[in-house]
């Protein structure tokens, strides 16, 4: 789960990392008001989750509150790499002497956290890593040991900082580590970390939380100021509704078939086969391998919220998942929400005989073979 910049910055600030003065604005008028409090050197930043927002026109400088208002209203009308901004962050514009990088994430190959530092901030760290590997310092952290402050001082020296600047940098590295550890983050990153006079300021903040730690971070998650809800019906709204329904994976594409699966690998296989058979997936819902009749019903609710589907293909091959439960979920949905969209079910796995009996009794046709089911779904989606 990725936080928006304004949310991440609040966490950074509370943990002791300096950030620019500024505030969130939900409308262009509000942006003008915030700007008036900040002076004439301003930056207006679209609050979106996509990377490369600056290149896509989501970050712009302004020299007066009027200009900030104008820029904000442009941003509110724009679509930035598929996202429609619902808020902008209006901040004072600082003049950095140089831009650094500091971050903590996981090294999945080494299976441990890693602290990353660089003297070249302001660009994607992956790019720096490719083009200027000498500008990067890394330190792996033993999962059983605490982070010790000397690690931050070491990294500061390695990227060429001296004196007070090195100390400041080491402090920020320590703050990032505490955020990373305390909130079960996957990534905590200050980039760029601007050097302005004697001060280091996080001009941008990234905080990605581990989805698998959500249950033990519920207090923290509740404390985060939410992004204003999107009133316009669209992908984002449908996706968050699916999440509320307990569907962890909801992805929309360009096509005509809804695909529902009860496993990540079998789901990806289904998507590949749909394409191989000449069909196109419109929406994909994956429920996880340990699910219930209610989630199955909700997955259909989420998938069929997409208009103009020409077929829904449900591929179930369960181990932990019980097929009789899945069949109950499907039939319950269809009783409550009769639909003209053809539903094609493939069902195999634990308790399959009981599940198939339920489907047959409800007049729902099922397949044993995935290939026959895919072929059927693609054919009906093409009007055959």
């Amino acid at each position: 789960m990725q936080l928006y910049e304004f949310q991440a910055k609040k966490v950074f600030e509370q943990s002791g990392i300096p950030i620019p003065k500024g505030r969130l604005a939900r409308t262009a008028e509000e942006a003008a008001k915030v700007a008036e409090e900040l002076g004439d050197a301003l930056v207006v930043k679209a609050q979106v989750l996509t990377g490369g927002r600056g290149l896509a026109g989501g970050v712009k400088f302004a020299d007066s509150p009027e200009q900030a208002e104008k820029i904000a209203s442009e941003i509110f009308r724009s679509v930035i790499r598929g996202e429609r901004p619902r808020a902008v962050l209006v901040e004072e514009r600082l003049k950095p002497l140089c831009e650094l990088y500091a971050g903590v994430t996981y090294d999945f190959r080494r299976k441990c956290p890693v602290m990353i530092s660089s003297s070249q901030g302001g660009v994607d760290i992956e790019t720096v890593s490719r083009e200027h590997p000498e500008a990067i310092a890394r330190k792996l952290i033993d999962p059983f040991r605490r982070f010790e402050p000397y690690v931050g001082r070491g990294l500061a020296t390695e990227i060429g900082l001296i004196g007070n600047k090195a100390n400041e940098y080491a402090n920020i590295v320590g703050c990032l580590w505490r955020i990373f550890e305390q909130y079960d983050a996957e990534l905590a990153e200050a980039n760029p970390l601007a050097l302005t006079g004697d001060r280091l300021v996080a001009l941008d903040a990234k905080l990605n939380l581990d989805d698998k730690s959500v249950s033990r971070q519920s207090d923290f998650l509740k404390s985060i100021e939410p992004m204003p809800a999107d009133q316009r019906e669209g992908y984002e709204v449908r996706r968050s509704r699916a999440r509320e329904l307990g569907i962890p994976t909801y992805i929309e594409m360009q096509g005509s078939i809804g695909v529902v699966a009860d496993g990540a690998g079998s789901g990806m296989l289904t998507l590949d086969l749909v394409a191989d058979y000449g069909g196109k997936t419109r929406v994909y819902c994956e429920m996880g391998g340990e699910t219930t009749a209610e989630i199955m019903e909700n997955a259909l609710l989420a998938a069929l919220a997409v208009k103009d589907l020409r077929a829904v293909l449900i591929n179930l091959i369960g181990g932990l998942n019980l097929m009789d439960e899945m069949a109950k979920g499907i039939s319950s949905y269809l009783r409550k929400h009769p639909t003209k969209v053809p539903i094609v079910v493939r069902m195999s796995g634990t308790n399959q005989d009981e599940g198939r009996r339920v489907l047959t009794a409800e007049g729902i046709r099922w397949f044993d073979s995935l290939y026959e089911a895919v072929e059927k779904a693609v054919a009906v989606s093409r009007g055959h």
Partner: protein
């Protein structure tokens, strides 16, 4: 022979009194797994499916000497339970829970590697040696005993493949689910090493998916000269980039981890690459004809 578990392997079930743990224990015992004990803290002294339940793994080890464990303890507590099993000296722990916090998972894997134990998972279906033993949650009616090893990140994809093989009268020696990632204990490479030395296995099916580097590592290993045929399938060819496709580790990020790269690496290493499980039976037959079993 089979790898990792065999007929008679003494198994412990952690979280045996939970809804999933008790149901899956019943299925494993019916299948022939030698479940010698269960552990649920606070429920010691009971019996579950005729299996004695203990409060701690150390106690279960003292009384019943299990060698391996399958852990049904839910996500937030799973790593702690698995570490208890590693600490008690079990050589293999299967971690079924899907939502193990990453910071717990890396601790669990670090301890296991320090102690020379293997963790399978997290977020895994476990493993099954058809006809012999099962330390997992597979729908076992889809599996038959035979000479093909399967290793897959996804459980469901391994069921799909075993089903196709079984329908074509090709049995399996051992079928392993590695888990959803993004960190793994046992890897493809580890499984390939074991299949190499397993006399019951004549060929290996490697079921890969997008994200991470494990398939590429396996390809490097195969390229050094693997003595048995490897048939590979990588799913997620049509997955949109930047999206987690159900598994935490199944994501193409900044162009890395794409199916096409993994397919190319495996093909260049000498694996026979297919597009769907139903192509596998014929390819296996052809590979085994081309490369008869090494005696």
């Amino acid at each position: 022979m089979a790898i990792l578990i065999d007929r008679g392997t003494r198994a412990l079930v952690q979280g045996i009194t939970g809804k999933i743990g008790s149901f899956q224990t019943k299925l494993m015992i019916e299948y022939g797994t030698n479940v010698v004990a269960g552990v649920t803290p606070g429920k010691g002294g009971q019996k579950m499916e005729c299996v004695p339940v203990y409060d701690s793994v150390h106690q279960a080890v003292r009384e019943t000497s299990p060698e391996v464990s399958i852990c049904f303890v839910p996500g937030p507590y799973a790593a702690d339970a698995a570490m208890e099993a590693v600490d008690a000296g079990l050589r293999l722990v299967v971690v079924v829970a899907e939502a193990v916090p990453l910071s717990d998972a890396v601790k669990m894997l670090a301890l296991a590697s320090e102690r020379g134990s293997f963790v399978l998972g997290p977020d895994t279906a476990g493993l099954i040696s058809p006809g012999r033993s099962k330390l997992g949650v597979q729908p076992h009616q889809l599996f038959t005993e035979g000479n093909i090893g399967i290793v897959s990140r996804s459980g469901a994809l391994s069921y799909e493949t075993a089903k196709t093989l079984t329908e074509n009268r090709i049995g399996q020696s051992t079928v392993i689910g590695l888990g959803g990632g993004p960190v793994w204990g046992l890897t493809y490479r580890d499984a390939l090493e074991r299949f190499k030395d397993d006399q019951a296995t004549d060929a290996v099916v490697l079921l890969g998916e997008i994200g991470g580097h494990m398939e590429e590592e396996a390809a490097d290993y195969i390229a050094k000269g693997y003595p048995k045929p490897v048939v590979a399938l990588v799913v997620g060819r049509t997955a949109p980039p930047g999206q987690k496709m159900g598994h935490a580790g199944a994501i193409v990020q900044q162009g890395r981890g794409a199916a096409q790269d993994k397919i190319a690496a495996l093909r260049n290493a000498g694996a026979a690459v297919v597009n769907a499980p139903r192509e596998i039976p014929n390819v296996i037959k052809a590979e085994l004809r081309r490369r008869p079993r090494a005696k």
